[in-house]
C-alpha cells in the first residue's frame, strides 16, 4: 500500500500557493476541514478561488479566510449566514459565482469522474441560464453545465487509513467525497487515522486512489450553527 500520511495540517498545505483553485468540503459548518483552514490562515497567500457550498460564518470556517482577505472568488450555492461575505460581495471586493446546489455537486462530481459537461434542468428560465447552451430532451428544457476541477481539494472525514481510504459520519459527508475526486491533490484530515487494513473495505466511502495526503486532525471544535432541540 502507498503511504499517504503527512505529519499535520501545516505540512499538508505547505505548497498551496496564492491564486490557486481550492475545493473545501462541508455543508454549513458540518464536515469542514477545520485543521487545514487554521493552517491556511498561518500562510501568507491570497487570491484564492474556493469552491465550497457555503462560506462559513464570520468567525469560523471559511469566514476566517475571507476576513483575512485571502479569497478572491467564492463558488458556492448558499452564503446566507455570513455578514462579512455579504459586505465584501456588495462592495465588489469579492467575486462570487452562486450556483444551484445540485448543479454545484454534479459539476464537482463530473470533474472527478472525467465528464466535461452535462445537461440539468436546474436554472432554466432564470439568470443562471444566461449565456448557457440549452437543449430540449423529451419535451423539457435543460442547461449545459461544465465540470469543476481544483488544484487542491481539502476534505474532512471521520476515519481514514494510511492508504487514504475514508469513512464519513452523518451529514458531514456532503461534498467531501466528490471533492476528494475533483482535486489534483486531495488533502484529507480525519478524526481517527489507522493503519491500512484496519478499516473494513465494505464500509469505505472514498477509495484511497483519490487521496494524496492524509493526517489525523486535532482539537475539532465542530461548531453548531443552529442548535435546535426538541422540547
Amino acid at each position: 500500500m502507498i503511504n499517504k500520511t503527512v505529519k499535520n495540517a501545516r505540512e499538508a498545505v505547505a505548497d498551496i500557493p496564492s491564486n490557486c483553485m481550492l475545493m473545501m468540503g462541508g455543508f454549513g459548518l458540518t464536515g469542514i476541514p477545520e485543521n487545514c483552514i487554521s493552517a491556511l490562515l498561518e500562510k501568507d497567500i491570497s487570491g484564492l478561488t474556493i469552491v465550497s457550498n457555503n462560506a462559513g460564518v464570520d468567525d469560523f470556517g471559511i469566514g476566517l479566510l475571507l476576513k483575512k482577505r485571502m479569497v478572491k472568488k467564492m463558488i458556492s450555492s448558499y452564503v446566507g449566514e455570513n455578514a462579512e461575505f455579504e459586505r465584501q460581495l456588495l462592495s465588489g471586493e469579492l467575486e462570487v459565482d452562486l450556483i444551484p446546489q445540485g448543479t454545484l455537486a454534479e459539476r464537482v462530481r463530473a470533474g472527478g469522474a472525467g465528464i466535461p459537461a452535462f445537461f440539468t434542468p436546474a436554472g432554466v428560465g432564470t439568470e443562471v441560464a444566461e449565456g448557457k447552451e440549452s437543449r430540449e430532451f423529451d419535451g423539457k428544457m435543460y442547461l449545459l453545465e461544465s465540470w469543476l476541477k481544483a488544484d487542491f481539494s481539502i476534505v474532512k472525514a471521520w476515519k481514514g487509513d494510511t492508504a487514504g481510504n475514508l469513512i464519513f459520519k452523518g451529514t458531514a459527508r456532503n461534498f467531501n467525497p466528490i471533492m476528494a475526486a475533483a482535486g489534483k491533490i486531495c488533502i484529507a484530515e480525519v478524526e481517527e487515522l489507522v493503519e491500512a487494513g484496519e478499516l473494513d473495505p465494505n464500509q469505505i466511502h472514498t477509495p484511497g486512489i483519490y487521496v494524496q495526503r492524509i493526517f489525523q486532525g486535532v482539537d475539532y471544535e465542530k461548531r453548531i450553527e443552529q442548535r435546535t432541540v426538541s422540547k
Binding site: 450555492s77 444551484p100 445540485g102 451529514t171 466528490i178 450553527e225
Partner: protein, 219 residues
C-alpha cells in the same frame, strides 16, 4: 388569518402515505410536526439524509448531523446517508414525491421567486433551483402579502426567478390556491373568517373563483 403553524398544519393534509418529501426552510420545516402518525413518509434533507427524525434532546445533539437548514436533527428508523451529488441525483431523478418550500413571490403561471433581492440581500439559491426544476409536485408555503402589504401572488414575478411553471399549490395565511394549467390562481379554500373579497383584494394576479369557496377545516 392563519398562523405559520396553521399554514404548516393545512399543508400536512396534502401529504400521502408512502411519500418521500423534501421540506424547505421556515414554515415548510414545521409541516413535519403535523404529519399524521399513521402515515409512513420519509423526509429528505438535501445535504445527504433520508429519514429526518425529531430534533434531538440536549444529550442527543450531534454536530455531524444537521438538516439543510443547518439545524441539529436526529435520524429516523431506517434512514440512510449519502453525498451531495447522490442527494441531488435523487431529486432531479424524480424520486422525491413532494417538495414544500417558501417563496417571496409566485406568478399566476407557477413561476417562483425565492432566492434574491437585487442589491439588497445575497444568500444564494441553495438547492431551491434544483428542487423546483425537478419535482412534479410543489407546494408553496408563504404569507399572502409582504410585510409592506404588497400581494405576493402576481401576474408575473418581479424578483429574480428560481424556477418557471413549477408551483402546483400555494397555502397562505389567507387561502389555499391551485395554479391553473392555463394560468391563474384557482381559489380552493379560505382561512376561517377571511372573505373571498379580502382574498380578491390581496391577490394581484388573476384569481379564479368557481362556486362557493369553503373555509379550511382544522381538526
Amino acid at each position: 388569518m392563519l398562523t405559520k403553524d396553521q399554514i404548516a398544519q393545512r399543508i400536512a393534509k396534502e401529504v400521502k402515505n408512502g411519500q418521500y418529501i423534501n421540506l424547505g426552510i421556515g414554515i415548510p420545516t414545521l409541516v413535519a410536526n403535523y404529519i399524521p402518525e399513521k402515515l409512513e413518509v420519509v423526509l429528505q434533507s438535501e445535504n445527504g439524509l433520508l429519514g429526518i427524525g425529531p430534533f434531538p434532546t440536549e444529550d442527543q445533539i450531534d454536530p455531524d448531523l444537521i438538516n439543510a437548514g443547518k439545524q441539529t436533527v436526529t435520524m429516523a428508523k431506517g434512514s440512510s446517508l449519502f453525498n451531495s451529488a447522490e442527494s441531488f441525483g435523487m431529486i432531479r431523478g424524480g424520486h422525491v414525491h413532494l417538495t414544500i418550500l417558501g417563496a417571496m413571490e409566485v406568478s399566476e403561471n407557477g413561476d417562483i421567486s425565492n432566492w434574491k433581492i437585487p442589491g439588497k440581500m445575497v444568500k444564494g439559491m441553495g438547492g431551491a433551483m434544483d428542487l423546483v426544476a425537478s419535482a412534479d409536485n410543489i407546494i408553496v408555503a408563504m404569507q399572502h402579502c409582504s410585510r409592506s402589504g404588497e400581494s405576493k401572488l402576481l401576474p408575473e414575478c418581479s424578483l429574480p426567478i428560481t424556477g418557471i411553471r413549477c408551483v402546483k399549490k400555494i397555502v397562505t395565511d389567507l387561502a389555499v390556491l391551485d395554479i391553473s394549467p392555463e394560468g391563474g390562481f384557482i381559489l380552493k379554500e379560505r382561512a376561517p373568517g377571511v372573505s373571498v373579497e379580502e382574498i380578491k383584494a390581496k391577490t394581484a394576479g388573476k384569481l379564479i373563483i368557481e362556486g362557493e369557496i369553503p373555509e379550511m377545516i382544522f381538526e
